[in-house]
Every structure is written in structure tokens, then in C-alpha cells.
């Protein structure tokens, strides 16, 4: 069965990057970024978390080396979550838009 074998060097590199990102997100929480831009703290936190998640999915879970079908499954799961989150939050966000 042919499969791409990812070397431990790459795993170690990814792990180190994840550690750096973890430190970064902890540090970012101690800085009041909301003063610059409303909601910047949560945006930064989610961006960092997503970068970490992408690294885990691509390299620890071998998604980078996998078939199109696998990538479609991953994309579908994430996309469907996005539908649920964004359309629901869209309802809440636009409630204050009522024309008076």
C-alpha cells in the first residue's frame, strides 16, 4: 500500500511551531488589543488557533499528502460548521438593523 511517510523532522518542526503559536496566543491575551480595534483580541486568538489547527490537520493527520476525497471531507465538515455559525450569528447581528 503506497502512502507518503512523513519524517520525524517535519513532525518536530510542526511541534515547535505549535509551541511558539501557543506562547503567542497566551501573550496576545495579556495585551489589550481591543483598544486598537474592537474585537481584535478574539480575532487574533481565533486566527492563531486556526493556524495551529491547520498545521495539525495537514501534517499530523497527513491531510497534506492525502487524496482529494479526504480533503473534500475535511472541507465539508468545516464548511458546514461555518454555515451554522455564520448564518445564526448573522441573525443575531442583524437584529439591530431593523428599520424604524
Amino acid at each position: 500500500m503506497s502512502e507518503h511517510i512523513v519524517s520525524p523532522k517535519i513532525y518536530l518542526l510542526i511541534f515547535t511551531t505549535l509551541m511558539v503559536l501557543t506562547g503567542t496566543t497566551v501573550y496576545a491575551a495579556t495585551v489589550d488589543l481591543n483598544a486598537y480595534f474592537a474585537g481584535l483580541n478574539i480575532i487574533v486568538a481565533l486566527v492563531i488557533a486556526t493556524c495551529k489547527a491547520i498545521l495539525v490537520v495537514l501534517f499530523f493527520m497527513h491531510a497534506y499528502y492525502s487524496t482529494r476525497r479526504t480533503k473534500l471531507v475535511i472541507f465539508s465538515g468545516v464548511f458546514w460548521l461555518a454555515i451554522m455559525l455564520f448564518l445564526t450569528m448573522g441573525d443575531y447581528a442583524t437584529r439591530s438593523w431593523e428599520a424604524h
Binding site: L87, G90, W97
Partner: protein, 557 residues
């Protein structure tokens, strides 16, 4: 009109999946998808009967304006339990778990599904969930409506909500595992030569349904779990008094429950796509469009859920978006109806029982679907939301559509499943009875809703009585239409004529093996090198002669 070809009398194969092993353990511990289909048949029939009894009690109660049969509290329990039993334990599993389980491996040329043990586990999970719900029914009932809106369900109801939602939660995993099994099976277990576009449309329909199972069901699972936790631990997610939000529950609930209605209809559409070409003796019109529309319905269906919440407090802009998307989702369904009709055009049509159900489906689904568009219109929905118009709409789709598809499919594949023929004349009588009874039951309800009769009310103003009585009369005829198949199907297992491998005849891999099939489905793995619905080109099935054109040939094939 000739029905089945007059062939020499067939005999049952000596050994097949039903008699290859004996004993209760060989059934309860089976991993054969065909036997698991029977296990599900038993389960869904039980819940259908239970839901039907509740429905009968509702209709009897509504014979008089002040209610004839039960107290208001009990009435609430009746419609709730009718909905829960029918939706979660009959309609959602019915075609996929019974017909899908039986046919998918056969149609793709495989020995079984990808995960047979998981398939059996799915059934046990279904039964476990069902037991929890039955326990809830027996110990206090359920009065929140099948929609479990909070905070009634999570705080104030005095009925057995917690066991019921836990039961539905558990049952959700049955769906998820079945959907997972089907998707993997369809991807990896196809016989050589069975390319994606040679697959029967039944398979495409179940693939689309499985997408919904996989991506939608987990959300209702976590939502109902939260309701159970809220009820038992007094958390506050959906309780305004504690800072929670009932609309959040509705978003979470409908994110699954709207696509759930597509779970209920897509498999039925798949059945219709199999029946129509067979009894019109023509290839299906627009195969690719029907396949694509199944996927489109599954996908777009996830974008429309808040059309159930137009009147409960969502923002106007969200409502506009969801209304527009709801209109969009009607388009792929319409594509299918056009294509089925085009298949019938210039076909050599015979009116066997499955075809009667299929034709009934097309008409009734059309009405049900179009009235859905009425409801998707924001302005109109203000008037008809929560009235009998909604009830008539979804019963036209779920009974006139899904159940007709289920029964049509059962009749169509009964010879394959049991090796026996059901009595054709009686079956046609039953089909017509069902059609008449159904329309008499639910047709008046459109009028009632339009005239303003609210749903889920145990009483009504006297001016609605005539239509209610008509509806109940129709229900009694409908009940006969349901009872007859239960009787003659049971009869046919023992006394029916042997069907032979291909009684209709139909194209499709499942008809190339014996009836009933052997446990391993095929003696030798089939190799597919023909196109689906090849009705013009099968001399081996007596289908060589093309339809005589009515006008000089103008190459419209």
C-alpha cells in the same frame, strides 16, 4: 393492460439469505445487510403503527369543536408523540434503513456494506433510542410538540421530556452511523465497471441523504443533550429567566430538522426514479440532472432552516435571506418532477402497483412542494404559520410523498426481498384506497389552515367542523390503505407465488441475482459494462422492441 410478462412458473432458490441460517441468534447477531433490513422493517413498522394510533386518536378527538376524546393536556401529548414516533422512528429510518440497507450493496455489486458490524450496531442503537422514547411515552407522555421548543421543554413541561430527548439523541447516532456506512460503501465497494454515472439514481439519492445524516444529525444530538442537561441540572442556555435564549435553541434545532425533511424525501425520490423507467419501459430522462439535483437538495437544504422561525423573533434581514434560499431549494426538486414526467412521455406505461404509488407521488409531492413555497413567502407566512396549512403541506410531502415512495419501493422490491409476489389486484385496490383516503384527510386541511384554524389546538370554532369531519373520514379510509399491505405482504411471504429473479422486468444489478438473493449477494462479482436504465436495449429481458413512434421518426432519443 398487460402487467408482468407471462413467464413459466418460477421456483424459490433452494438456499438464500433467509434460510441459510436459523434461529433467533442468527437474526439478532447477523451482519448481513439484508437481514438487518428486516430488523429495521420490524422496528419502523412498529413505530409507524404506534404513530398511526396517535393520529387516529387525534382525528377522532377533532370530530367535534370542543374535542371528543381526551383532555387538552392529553391532546398535547397525542400530537407530540405522533410527531416524535413518526419522524424520528419511522420516516427518517424507513427507506434508508430498510430499502437502502437491503439494496445498496446489491445495486453496486458488493457483498455487503463497508462496515457490516457497524450496521448491526446502528440497529441496536435505534432500538435503544426507541426504548427510551417508549419509556417516556409510558411514564407521563410528552407534551412539548415534536419540536421541543424551550423553555417549555427544558423548564416548564411536566411530561417525560428528559428520557424522550435522550432517546432521540441516542437514535441520532443510528442515523449517523448508517449515513457513514452508506457513503463509504458507495465510494469504495462498487463492482468493477460501476462508475459513478452508471449508478442507479436510488444510490445517488441515498448518497445525498447520507450527507445530511452525517452533517446534520450531530447538531440535533448536541442540542437535545443540552435540553436534557438543562432540564436535569437546571442550566440556563435556553431559559430567558437565567439569561438564556430560546431562539438559540430554535436555530440549533432547525439546523438539523429542516435538512431532516430532505432525509425523509430524497430516498423516496430515489425510489421513484427507479420505478418510473421500469414501468414506462424507457430510460430515465436527464439522469445527470436528477443525480445532481439530489446533491443540490442536500446541500441547499442546509441553508434554509430559519424559514421555520419567521415569526419567532429572528431579524428581518435573516428572514429575507432564508426566504430567498427556500425558493432556491425548490428548483432541484422541480427539476426532478420535470424529468420524471419527461420519462413518462412516449413511454410504454403499465399500471402495476409500484407505478400507481410513483404516479401518486408525483402529483402529491407537487402539491406539497408548491405549498411549501406559499409558506416561504414572508408576507403570506404571517397568516398561515402555525395553522393547518402547514400541517397539510408537510403531510402532503411526508405521506403523499415519502410514504408513497416507501410503499411503492416495498412493492417494487418485495419480490426481490422475499422471492414472492404480492397479490396484484388487492395491492392496486390498496394503493387507490390510500390515495383517496389521503387526499380526503389532508386536502381539507389546506382550507382549514387558510381559513385560520391553528395547529396544535385541542378545540376549534364550530365553523371549522365540516372540514374536520371530512378529514377524519378520510383518515379512516387512509387507515384501510395502510392496513391492507400489512396484511397481504404478510400473507405473501407464505402463500405468494414465487417471483423469479426479475418479475417486472427491470434493469439494475439487483435484478440479476436470485430472488431472494444468496447471502453473499452474487455468485460471482459482477463486472458492469452497461449504462443504467437501458430499457431500449435489453433483448434478454424482452425489452428489445423500441416504443413505436407516433410520428415519423425524428431522432428524439
Amino acid at each position: 393492460m398487460a402487467t408482468t410478462t407471462t413467464a413459466p412458473a418460477h421456483t424459490m432458490p433452494r438456499e438464500h439469505y433467509l434460510n441459510s441460517t436459523y434461529g433467533i441468534r442468527s437474526w439478532l447477531l447477523t451482519t448481513d445487510h439484508k437481514r438487518i433490513a428486516w430488523l429495521y422493517l420490524a422496528g419502523v413498522t412498529f413505530f409507524f403503527t404506534l404513530g398511526g394510533i396517535f393520529a387516529a386518536m387525534i382525528r377522532i378527538h377533532l370530530l367535534t369543536p370542543n374535542g371528543l376524546l381526551v383532555s387538552p393536556e392529553t391532546y398535547n401529548k397525542l400530537f407530540t408523540m405522533h410527531g416524535v414516533a413518526m419522524i424520528f422512528f419511522f420516516l427518517i429510518p424507513s427507506i434508508p434503513a430498510v430499502l437502502g440497507n437491503f439494496l445498496i450493496p446489491l445495486m453496486i455489486g458488493a457483498k455487503d456494506v463497508a462496515f457490516p458490524k457497524l450496521n448491526l450496531l446502528s440497529w441496536y442503537v435505534y432500538i435503544t433510542g426507541g426504548c427510551f422514547v417508549l419509556y417516556a411515552f409510558a411514564t407521563g407522555g410528552l407534551d412539548t410538540g415534536w419540536t421541543f421548543y424551550t423553555p417549555l421543554s427544558s423548564v416548564y413541561s411536566n411530561s417525560a421530556v428528559a428520557p424522550a430527548v435522550i432517546g432521540i439523541f441516542i437514535n441520532g447516532f443510528s442515523s449517523i452511523l448508517t449515513g457513514l456506512n452508506f457513503v463509504v460503501t458507495i465510494h469504495t465497494m462498487r463492482a468493477p465497471g460501476m462508475t459513478w454515472f452508471r449508478l442507479p439514481l436510488f444510490i445517488w439519492a441515498h448518497y445525498a441523504t447520507s450527507i445530511i445524516f452525517i452533517l446534520g444529525t450531530p447538531v440535533i444530538a448536541i442540542t437535545l443533550l443540552l435540553v436534557a442537561l438543562e432540564r436535569t441540572l437546571h442550566l440556563g442556555f435556553f431559559n430567558p429567566v437565567l439569561g438564556g435564549d430560546p431562539i438559540l435553541f430554535q436555530h440549533l434545532f432547525w439546523f438539523y430538522s429542516h435538512p431532516a425533511v430532505y432525509i425523509m424525501i430524497l430516498p423516496a425520490m430515489g425510489v421513484i426514479s427507479e420505478i418510473i423507467p421500469t414501468f414506462a419501459r424507457k430510460p430515465i430522462f436527464g439522469y445527470t440532472f436528477i443525480a445532481a439535483s439530489s446533491i443540490a437538495i442536500a446541500v441547499i437544504g442546509f441553508f434554509v432552516w430559519a424559514h421555520h422561525m419567521f415569526l419567532t423573533g429572528e431579524s428581518t434581514y435573516a428572514a429575507l435571506a432564508f426566504s430567498l434560499l427556500s425558493y432556491l431549494v425548490a428548483i432541484p426538486s422541480a427539476v426532478k418532477v420535470f424529468n420524471w414526467t419527461a420519462t413518462l412521455y412516449k413511454g410504454s406505461i403499465s399500471y402495476d402497483t409500484p407505478m400507481l404509488y410513483a404516479l401518486g407521488f408525483i402529483g402529491l409531492f407537487l402539491i406539497g412542494g408548491l405549498t411549501g413555497l406559499f409558506l416561504a413567502c414572508l408576507g403570506l407566512d404571517i397568516h398561515i404559520h402555525d395553522t393547518y396549512f402547514v400541517i397539510a403541506h408537510f403531510h402532503y410531502i411526508m405521506v403523499g410523498g415519502a410514504i408513497m415512495g416507501y410503499l411503492g419501493g416495498l412493492h417494487f422490491w418485495w419480490p426481490k426481498i422475499t422471492g414472492k409476489l404480492y397479490p396484484e389486484f388487492l395491492a392496486r385496490v390498496a394503493a387507490v384506497t390510500l390515495f383517496v383516503g389521503f387526499n380526503l384527510t389532508f386536502g381539507p386541511q389546506f382550507l382549514l389552515g387558510f381559513m385560520g384554524m391553528p395547529r396544535r389546538y385541542h378545540n376549534y370554532p364550530p365553523e371549522y367542523q365540516v372540514l374536520n369531519v371530512l378529514s377524519t373520514a378520510g383518515a379512516s379510509i387512509l387507515a384501510i390503505g395502510y392496513l391492507l399491505p400489512m396484511i397481504y405482504f404478510t400473507w405473501s411471504v407464505r402463500y405468494g407465488k414465487a417471483a423469479g429473479p426479475n418479475p417486472w422486468p427491470a434493469t439494475g444489478l439487483e435484478w440479476t441475482t436470485a430472488s431472494p438473493p444468496p447471502t453473499e449477494n452474487f455468485e460471482v462479482t459482477p463486472v458492469v459494462d452497461w449504462e443504467p436504465y437501458d430499457y431500449k436495449n435489453r433483448p434478454d429481458l424482452g425489452l428489445a422492441a423500441p416504443v413505436v413512434p407516433l410520428a415519423p421518426a425524428h431522432g428524439d432519443d
